[in-house]
Symmetry: C2
Subunit: 419 residues, 2 copies
């Protein structure tokens, strides 16, 4: 345990030292480093695949399921995507040093807010080794040092990737310690890292509920959770029903394993008898298992009963809970009670109800006449994203480069003092 604390503390201290230098590193150097990192990932693909093979073999030996092994596995294509991701971050605008608005006060002084890096960002994550490269790139571009702590299942992959990135970055002029990897993956390390508030400015846990709760319980470092999404689509009446069908199918089927996929469908009672059965038939053809309220089951035969647990379930799978509601108020009450304040959409042709839904539904993203799957950094125009925050403070919803910074007040005076 003493060893483990010493190892993590040493990495965190090195990151803190690097952060001071990174904060003033020029955009040109950062971009050059990101492109060099991309080149290095491609050039050393064989080494990365070999390291990954050791993790995959261990996962198979431990009897992990196919989905787990798939998330863990690197392929030449996935390594290409990793390199492409690094280049894309190089192409994004640098948020650091930008001043959002410079206003003049009555006494003549100019006041603005300048974007500056947060400092040291800890990322605690599971399985997918591409998180190592994505997180390192976004933190570097935003002027932050990163302290990466992946899971034991990907330790060889993460070490290999971090080494390739670190060496390429160093040659391009990035300070030592800017890309830190905690190489020991004992469970207790999470607690150690989450209490190093002397060195670490923010922790983002990316993974399952167990991981997030473990980090949140012990943390003295501020954390931004990327927690679960129990996302709803409410189909109102009147609505464009062809649009409603397209949105519902997309929200459920396009990639059901993601946090912004629809988990519960709410349908206005005026649509229960005519339109709902057609939609459900379509969803079932797409492979979706339906679990319905009594009214839903009366409208379409052969549907399982939704239990109380279904209304707050994040299936991450081709399963959908369906409930017929009286009206908008009933739909919003259901969302307030069972939702996770992640992503919720309404399909309607009524102006006033669209307006109320936008204003009154308290979720990180609220959409009118569009799919919940659009709640994503690329889709919303942030460029790359580090994830979707379910924390209310600092950054809510999709987080891009700007959300990895904070601001400071800058005052340009000509001798002003306080009366």
């Amino acid at each position: 345990m003493t060893d483990l604390i010493a190892h993590i503390t040493e990495k965190a201290r090195a990151a803190k030292t690097a952060a001071g230098l990174l904060a003033v590193l020029s955009t040109a150097v950062k971009n050059r480093a990101l492109r060099a990192m991309a080149d290095a990932v491609s050039a050393q693909a064989a080494d990365l695949l070999a390291a990954n093979a050791r993790d995959v073999e261990a996962a198979r030996r431990d009897g992990r399921n196919a989905a787990f092994v798939d998330r863990l596995t690197l392929t030449p294509l996935r390594i290409d995507e990793m390199a492409k991701g690094l280049r894309e971050v190089a192409d994004l605008p640098d948020p650091v040093g930008s001043i959002s608005s410079l206003t003049v006060r009555p006494n003549g002084m100019q006041v603005g807010r300048m974007r500056v890096p947060l400092g040291v960002i800890g990322i605690i994550y599971e399985s997918r080794p591409n998180v190592t490269a994505d997180s390192a790139a976004l933190c570097l571009k935003s002027g932050n040092a990163v302290l990466l702590r992946g899971g034991s299942e990907a330790v060889h992959s993460n070490r290999a990737i971090a080494t390739v990135l670190r060496e390429a970055a160093a040659k391009a002029g990035v300070p030592d310690g800017a890309i830190g990897l905690v190489e020991r993956t004992e469970r207790e390390g999470v607690r150690v890292m989450a209490t190093l508030d002397r060195y670490v400015d923010l922790i983002i846990p990316r993974g399952g509920e167990g991981l997030i709760q473990a980090v949140a319980r012990d943390a003295t470092v501020p954390i931004i959770k990327h927690d679960k999404g129990v996302c709803h689509v409410y189909v109102d009446h009147p609505a464009d029903l062809a649009m409603a069908e397209a949105v519902c199918v997309n929200a459920k089927v396009q990639r059901p394993g993601t946090c912004n996929a629809m988990e519960t469908l709410l349908v206005h009672e005026a649509l229960a008898d005519d339109w709902l059965p057609t939609l459900l038939a379509r969803l079932r053809r797409e492979g979706v298992e339906i679990r319905g309220c009594p009214r839903t089951r009366a409208a379409a035969p052969g549907i399982a009963e939704a239990t109380e647990a279904d209304w707050s379930a994040e299936y991450l799978d081709l399963i959908l809970a369906v409930k017929v509601v009286r009206d908008l108020d009933d739909a919003m009450a259901h969302i307030a009670r069972y939702g996770s304040q992640h992503t919720d959409a309404i399909v309607t042709s009524d102006y006033a109800r669209a307006h109320r839904f936008l204003r009154e539904v308290d979720s990180a993203a609220v959409l009118v006449n569009s799919s919940t799957r659009l709640h994503d950094g690329y889709q919303l125009g942030l460029g790359a994203e580090i994830g979707i925050s379910t924390t209310r403070i600092h950054a809510r919803g999709a987080m891009g480069l700007e959300e990895l910074t904070c601001s400071k007040f800058v005052v340009l005076g000509t001798g002003q003092v306080r009366d």
Copy 2:
């Protein structure tokens, strides 16, 4: 202890319920309530003074010092200021519901970020009873429920103020529970409140270092600290020396007990022999005790030696540490090592060095040619402030109404789905 937990939990639960209603309360109702609260404070001044007299008497009986008793004491003038503060908050623009920018994505959907309340804000504070009214006003205007927890020394004052505010607010249409006061002031209550993350969305501790550390240690609720300010003025060479004198005197003397007052003066060595002695003589005439580095002591006789502890001291008093530095880099290194990243200023006539100071000094407010005392919500144009945050995430530096909100993504679509 069970009783205490039940009391605080009940207050927090009521606040959470109120928060749902407050989030959609109209600006007109909120402003009407704030003005009614101001009227009630004035109308019931005699009751407030009587309640406060009990607290003051107890403080005297307990042998509290004069500064403590002064902070605690209400006077007719202070009650007028409290009422005036409530009216000023009514006059500020409502941040809730505003959309900062609405951009159109290539697929035609409009994306914006809407300001929404944080939810329930806990304020844990000491002595000054005016914090009760200020915090209630700012939280109400920003659509948040507030859970106030003042110290035992002000329990009668706080209860009287909260009751007056709550009754006036209720008559104006503010939901029950919107202005909650924890009426039991046992020390353990701080821990109870700071771990009620089910109901409380943010805690702002306002008070001494002991209080802030106690909250931070145990909190599972996100917190924004209002911690200490070891603020610097660096007088560069060349600089307008009349301006430098005015800024230094203002930063130290105008109100030395505040967190943005100068605590350490750094002076370029070219100014050590001629200008520094004149400045120090002026400061001493203003009643300031000087503690200097060897070079400072050589330049002006009769100055005490600054110890290592002086460089990181927050005196909050008419005491000033003074150090002669080689140049800008030396000054910035000193600030990075000993400062508290609160408020730091440079006085210079050199463009490039002003630019570097702004960019490289990592503090919540960085000022050129102006007094550190200007780091304040009113001075910077935010309107009223709830305090000055020393936390990096969410809100850094002076916090106004907008910093008591978060944002959500709003998407106005016409049938967009994800490819």
